[in-house]
Symmetry: C2
Subunit: 176 residues, 2 copies
């Protein structure tokens, strides 16, 4: 199972692709950080992010996409941009006909470190170890995206199949 | 100048299309409300909204798109969905190569009622009067979308041309 994970952000959006099966170590396929310029118009930023994510989905052909769920309790200065970036990420997967699953930060932390309260450094350490990398993925946005993808491989089986069936049904349906 | 206005919402998204020139009454082209089911998966909801908005842009061929700007001070229960719906709306315009402009609710209210503090009923009354409609557009989401489109026709000239040039430049550029 190949999964593309997205840690959404408007200025920096982490993307990580891994392959694996539940309960076994995953293999790294690749990771990326998509940058958009805070000085640019919102429409240009969202368009740039949309194209980059659509290209990465086309390039890596994952079976499903995992995106971090955004909460309004987050930093209110950046939360709107994060929510908008997450919509672009979810849409990039859905438009490709893929099941898209969202996970809370604590679900992801618990999956890779055993604790929902783990800090960023701990997540990076575990991602490096679990994927048997020589050095930690940088920046941290990429490590978080890889953690999401690993979390989905390990937890995603059943929910993915259900979501895939729903996505298929939606693709056959109308548009309004 | 034909403008498509969007009052973003995940459950109900208002869309209004008007034609006109600055300083003169606008003409109604059409209005719509795109519904998505709160019980559905987020990816299906965003996909449905994306398709509906993309279809409406293709059908009406506006010269530009106006979207209400979302703030994190809004109702925190719905703000994340509103932010995500606004990203889909901005993207639907940008992907069609159109300039997209955002306006705050007070800018829109001030444009159509003369007061940034006007209530929803006042906005609906003025939209009905300005477009010389026999009855108020229903639901209110549609009236708000029409108010956005009118606001953009009246205020949008210069900013639109700049945004169009930037969008054109972005379309010629790379994707990452």
């Amino acid at each position: 199972m190949r999964v593309l994970g997205v840690d959404p952000g408007l200025t920096r959006c982490g993307v990580g692709v891994v392959e694996g099966v539940p309960g076994r170590p995953c293999t790294l396929v690749g990771y990326y950080v998509v940058h958009t310029d805070p000085g640019d118009d919102l429409s240009l930023r969202l368009l740039h992010l949309d194209r980059a994510l659509t290209d990465l989905v086309a390039e890596h052909r994952p079976q499903s996409v995992a995106v971090e769920r955004v909460f309004s309790q987050h930093n209110t200065r950046t939360v709107m941009g994060t929510a908008q970036a997450s919509a672009v990420a979810v849409l990039a997967g859905a438009r490709a006909g893929l099941p898209v699953q969202t996970y809370t930060p604590s679900e992801v932390k618990a999956a890779v470190t055993g604790s929902g309260q783990a800090d960023k450094a701990q997540v990076t350490t575990m991602v490096t170890r679990l994927l048997r990398l020589d050095a930690p993925p940088r920046p941290a946005d990429a490590a978080d995206a890889l953690a999401l993808a690993i979390c989905h491989v390990w937890r995603g089986g059943t929910r993915s199949r259900l979501a895939a069936a729903a996505a298929q049904a939606a693709r056959r349906g109308g548009t309004r």
